[in-house]
């Protein structure tokens, strides 16, 4: 493939995974919980879309209308039932808890659906322009990412609750004095984070096959992007996603397939050496 084509492809994938990472960074920013189960919620969304497609013929893109609110509700239930209890505990506790949630989800999926891979075939016509061909499904994924990132930006900058999320992220004790209930903000952020993960799952169904235990790959990817972009920075997450997406795809031109997964980590290590707080992270920490 052409270099330019790989760059565009990487950009599109990068946007999608940047949005996935946005969900993770939002949750971390508000409650300082690393949600190890983030990728498993992607799989939950993907399976939901798979069955909606197989059983009811619902197009995966349309099923986002289900997986996003479903993810939001699921996130709120998981927050109220479990995560809330460890928000003020040492960070190791929340790692254990979300790891447990991750294991629970993937085991449940494995039990219900067997370890088989699931895929659906829906293809959008590819897009041609300036001598570059972009597969239609990837273009749709990128469009989804742009829409979500835009909506999230409007929410975070224009609404009281969006600003409250940013305020709690920046200084939760000050936010409390403003009359903001940090518990309510945490619940909201967790709901949004899971809604993003789960709707990304619907989009992932357009791009690849999924299997019950595949969530950890998405978690790892989102985690690398978040750290690369700077913990807690939404813009950093998007930028980090694009960097990883482009470099991964371009590297596949020059490196054997087995080596490309390491690229993300190599970039991460280099960035962390040069700039320990990540690309967009707060300085001097």
């Amino acid at each position: 493939m052409l270099l330019a084509e790989l760059v565009v492809l990487g950009l599109a994938y990068g946007l999608l995974f940047g949005v996935l990472a946005l969900g993770l960074t939002l949750i971390w920013g508000v409650m300082k919980v690393v949600n190890i189960a983030h990728g498993d919620f992607v799989i939950v969304g993907a399976y939901s879309s798979y069955w909606l497609f197989v059983l009811a013929g619902v197009h995966p893109i349309l099923s986002i209308l289900f997986t996003a609110p479903f993810g939001f509700g699921l996130g709120i239930i998981v927050y109220l039932g479990l995560v809330r209890r460890v928000v003020h505990a040492p960070e190791l506790m929340s790692l254990f808890l979300t790891f447990g949630i991750s294991t629970l989800i993937s085991s449940l999926l494995l039990y219900i659906y067997s370890p088989n891979q699931r895929a659906i075939s829906v293809t959008f016509p590819s897009i041609n322009g300036l001598g570059v061909v972009l597969p239609g499904n990837v273009a749709i994924a990128a469009a989804y990412a742009v829409v979500v990132a835009t909506l999230l930006r409007i929410f975070l900058t224009k609404t009281y609750w969006g600003k409250a999320i940013r305020a709690v992220t920046e200084d939760s004790s000050s936010a409390l004095l403003m009359g903001i209930n940090p518990e309510a903000v945490s619940m909201l952020a967790f709901g949004i984070g899971v809604a993003i993960a789960s709707s990304v799952g619907s989009v992932v169904m357009l791009l690849q096959a999924v299997y019950p235990t595949g969530g950890s790959e998405f978690t790892l990817l989102a985690f690398v992007i978040v750290v690369l972009g700077g913990l807690g920075s939404p813009f950093g997450a998007l930028l980090g996603g694009i960097v990883i997406g482009v470099v991964d795809n371009v590297a596949s031109l020059y490196l054997p397939a087995a080596a490309t997964p390491a690229i993300g980590f190599i970039i991460l290590v280099i960035v962390l050496i040069v700039r320990p707080s990540g690309i967009m992270g707060a300085k001097g920490r």
Binding site: Y160, K163, A164, R166, A167, E170, D171, S173, S174, A175, L176, L177, M178, G179, I180, N181, P182
Partner: protein
């Protein structure tokens, strides 16, 4: 006619097992400006944070507007009209001046009067209007303190508590801030001011308390403070 707005009775607070406040009782009447003085580590910040509900007292009672708020969460205390401008200002440095002011008006009570309060804050601090699109962290120390006070006012408080608003400011800026506080009092706002800047704060206060090692060591009018020989020598540096 004096009507108590804030009544703190026999408040005791621990940090873990370490007692920090013993038996604090103080009253702020409606319309009063009361100053709480005390040297470093005396427990001034702890007192304000306990009144606001950020810290849970071990024993004692806090009443605001005759309502027991001892167990009320800090965000709800803000929502019923008692606000704290914290030590070190606690601004959202990466957010704009206007966003900080909007966040000050987060509670339902405050949102109702948002427009009104915003214009009166901008009238009080024209510099904030000029800088409304700027990041709060880029303001000078004095401007940041004005923003912190303005943000407190945006909650539409009946009573404002301020924790060392003069900290780290040049003397000329300090007198500006105190003039603002005096003006707010004249408009009927009830104020509990924590300060180490004794002379300046006694000059604008109706009454004062002196906190010493977690206990109220003295209370009285500014004249009574000034008249007390041992206070003059030990604490007041007058």
């Amino acid at each position: 006619m004096t009507e108590p707005l804030l009544e703190v009775s026999r408040l005791a607070v621990n940090y873990g097992a370490v007692p920090v406040l013993w038996d604090i009782s103080l009253t702020v009447n409606r319309g009063e400006l009361v100053v709480l003085l005390g040297s470093n580590g005396a427990g001034k910040t702890t007192s304000l944070r306990s009144v606001q509900g950020v810290l849970k007292p071990k024993s004692g009672k806090v009443a605001f507007n005759s309502k027991d708020i001892t167990a009320l969460a800090a965000n709800k205390v803000t929502a019923i009209g008692l606000s704290l401008v914290p030590e070190g200002r606690g601004l959202f440095a990466t957010m704009t001046v206007e966003e900080n002011l909007q966040l000050g008006a987060f509670s339902k009570r405050a949102r109702k009067r948002f427009g009104e309060n915003l214009s009166s804050v901008y009238e009080l601090f024209p510099i904030l209007k000029e800088r409304k699109g700027q990041r709060a962290g880029s303001l000078s120390g004095g401007e940041q303190q004005m923003l912190a006070i303005g943000r407190g006012l945006m909650s539409d408080p009946e009573m404002l508590m301020l924790d060392e608003p003069s900290l780290g400011l040049a003397p000329i800026v300090v007198s500006k801030v105190f003039k603002v506080l005096e003006g707010l009092k004249d408009r009927g706002l009830t104020i509990l001011l924590v300060e180490q800047n004794v002379e300046v704060s006694l000059a604008i206060a109706d009454r004062g308390y002196l906190l010493e090692n977690g206990k109220i060591a003295f209370e009285g009018t500014p004249d009574q403070f000034r008249a007390n020989e041992s206070l003059r020598e030990a604490y007041l540096g007058l």
